[in-house]
């Protein structure tokens, strides 16, 4: 049976843990407000961007389009047998199953794509470390982006997308993305998406509403400049979503941890009191029986 001092020490250490988890929870709670606001603020830009791309795309002549370098972003390639994978995880642990969920999805995906060459762009330390640990796969880390959370800005998305486009133009046939979507404070879900080639836009054949527009520079180069920005706006949103999801996951995990710590402390205090009482009772019995033996 544990001595009183042991139990006291145990309680003290659990209390320390609780303090830390509680502090982490409060930090995450404070940050998540800002993260949510950032998502909210990025929405109008993304919407306008999409609208503009769609309109401009409707304006393009098919011949013009085929001859411009932009059509490579839409065309399916298959000659290189190489896939790019963008994986967005967190830098730090202690956020429940946030990282595990992304990595599990990645493992499943990797299993389905055995035999292909895979180039990974890892955002977040956990994802990168995971890729470094993998053996027996034709897998290579193309680019890593570490230490951007929880201060994601558009600059990061800029850099990330430049790398993605480089990978796509030079080596990979297509680019896949695995990230966590922020649904609400309580639920986050892992999403797998095709990034490139772009598929969402099609030639409708009819004239768009920008029929009477003038363009400077001309349409094709405008579209060429616009599309990477469109992708960047999309990735900015993705990074923000993942950031908010991480914070939400951490907040929940730390709240549970604090709750569990409180439970443990309660249990230990009970045990401490019982032990103390048992000790007093034993001592009393000993004294009483001793006195009885002597006095008779």
């Amino acid at each position: 049976m544990a001595s009183l001092r042991d139990i006291r020490r145990h309680i003290a250490s659990v209390k320390n843990i609780k303090q830390i988890t509680y502090a982490m929870k409060m930090v995450a709670a404070a940050r998540i407000k800002r993260a949510q606001k950032a998502i909210f603020n990025s929405r109008p830009f993304a919407l306008k961007m999409e609208e503009t791309v769609r309109n401009l795309f409707a304006e393009m002549e098919e011949e013009d389009f085929k001859s411009s370098p932009t059509h490579r972003l839409f065309e399916k390639k298959s000659e290189k047998n190489c896939i790019g994978l963008v994986m967005v995880t967190a830098d730090k642990g202690l956020c429940g199953s946030f990282n595990i969920n992304v990595l599990k999805t990645a493992v499943k995906w990797l299993r389905n794509n055995r035999g292909k060459k895979i180039k990974v762009i890892a955002v977040g330390k956990k994802g990168r470390d995971f890729c470094k640990r993998l053996r027996g796969l034709d897998l290579e880390i193309f680019y890593e982006m570490i230490g951007i959370f929880p201060k994601v800005s558009y600059v990061h998305s800029n850099i990330l997308c430049d790398e993605i486009l480089k990978l796509y133009h030079n080596e990979a046939d297509e680019i896949k993305l695995i990230y966590t979507e922020f649904k609400s404070m309580m639920s986050q879900s892992v999403e797998t998406k095709n990034v490139l080639p772009l598929k969402s836009l099609k030639f409708s054949g009819e004239k768009g509403r920008m029929d009477d527009f003038e363009f400077e520079p001309h349409k094709a180069s405008l579209l060429e400049a616009l599309l990477p920005r469109y992708i960047k706006a999309e990735f900015y949103r993705i990074l923000l979503e993942s950031q908010a999801a991480e914070l939400a996951a951490r907040m929940n995990a730390m709240e549970n941890a604090s709750k569990n710590a409180a439970d443990i402390i309660e249990g230990l205090t009970l045990k401490l009191n019982k032990t103390r009482q048992a000790m007093i009772t034993t001592e009393l019995t000993e004294i009483v029986s001793g006195a009885q033996a002597l006095g008779g």
Binding site: A38, N41, F45, K48, F213, F215, E216, R229
Partner: protein, 140 residues
Amino acid sequence: MDKKLILSIVTPQEVYLEEIPVDFVALPAFEGEMGILPGHAPFMVQLKDGLLRYRTNAEESVFAILGGFAQIENDRVTILAEGADLAKEIDEEKERQAYQRARDALAMKGADIDLDAAQAALRKAALRMKIAELRRKRRK
């Protein structure tokens, strides 16, 4: 002049201006500055880093714009920029220090990502300094 332009400036971080009525807008267009008055033809133009000026009645305001696009349609001017700052809020001395910091970071050449971020910071600070200078000159 009765007709007004409706100006919006949208960046990924924030909606800076939402549909405010103005009399005149000058954009840092791809091939030189471009002035827009009400009744302008529909137009779409790529922007470079530079100054965006607009005038409401007699009052002129200046924005710093970092790359992007402008769309003009039915007297609505929509700016999609990667970054924007109201010139009034720019502090020249602070920017000079930011510029210096970015230069130092570049000179030290840390990890890849720091380098890229520093380059972006340098670009931004340089533009803001230019704007602050311009504003100072105009005030004199």
